[in-house]
Symmetry: C2
Subunit: 167 residues, 2 copies
């Protein structure tokens, strides 16, 4: 039996604070952010999770998070997507995703930002976003996507965890 398609939302780790001299897209993970994200990544690897693709927001703190996932052995390939920037367009991503699945893609990591990631997960499961999911930095949301038809409103949530509850 074919295992169902899965999408994992992984929020970027703890990043340096906003400051006038650092543009938002250049904010880096802190030391603590790197350490905690590494621990989460190693835990996911220990759980035998493997991503066909790590799709990431191009903002530095997300890219660094994606790198940590790759280094932990969770996936070979990283790709940037402007759909995953803060306030990104879920419909753009959905178009890409349906194509990617048709080409054989199966297990996908999305590295990005809040509240978008929680909102997208809600849209996929319930059809609309009500900000009911609490996703901490370096936290994980796991969805099962139906094999056929529209993922919107038809997906299921099988996992939501903070680093604290995972480690």
């Amino acid at each position: 039996m074919k295992t169902p398609s899965k999408v994992y939302f992984i929020r970027h780790g703890i990043a340096e604070n906003r400051a006038d001299h650092v543009p938002d897209e250049k904010r880096q993970l802190t030391k603590e952010g790197i350490q905690k994200t590494r621990k989460v990544a190693n835990r996911l690897h220990h759980l035998n999770i493997h991503f066909d693709l790590i799709l990431t927001s191009p903002l530095l703190r997300a890219m660094q998070t994606a790198d940590i996932l790759q280094t932990a052995g969770l996936g070979h390939q990283i790709k940037e997507s402007t759909s995953l920037v803060p306030n990104g367009d879920i419909n753009n991503w959905l178009n890409w995703y349906q194509q990617w699945r048709q080409n054989g893609g199966h297990c996908l990591a999305l590295v990005g930002h809040q509240p978008d990631q929680g909102n997208w997960a809600e849209i996929l499961v319930w059809g609309e976003a009500k900000e009911g999911l609490l996703l901490k930095k370096a936290g994980v949301i796991g969805l099962v996507i139906p094999e056929t038809g529209d993922p919107v409103g038809n997906s299921s949530l099988f996992w939501l965890t903070s680093p604290k509850l995972l480690l």
Copy 2:
């Protein structure tokens, strides 16, 4: 600062199959069910979770699960509630819950059955149930309940995990 009220839904562990000679309410946890539920309970204890009350469905497999939670040090008090039987009435429970909170109750475990537990969690967070939450046996759902006002449609999901992803 007062920490917010929390409700944890904990589904009963793996139980013996339905059989003609055993009424549904007398089905027991299997050996594997007991072992896995104990591991989950110990993990919750390790995470410093403590319930002011373990409210359980009176069906045997739920009562046995509640006993395991108590034995692991997760809470001193167990109480049966007919609201938590399969197809139980969430409004009955809500009336009880508001009273319990007024009397100082803060962190509550609900031990029961699917699909009710996932449905109730969805009603508390999103106002309606669409069976979008996958809750395995001995799995856990964690909700934050707002301090004031109606919990229905105003709570937040901070945790959903299967035993496999927790252990």
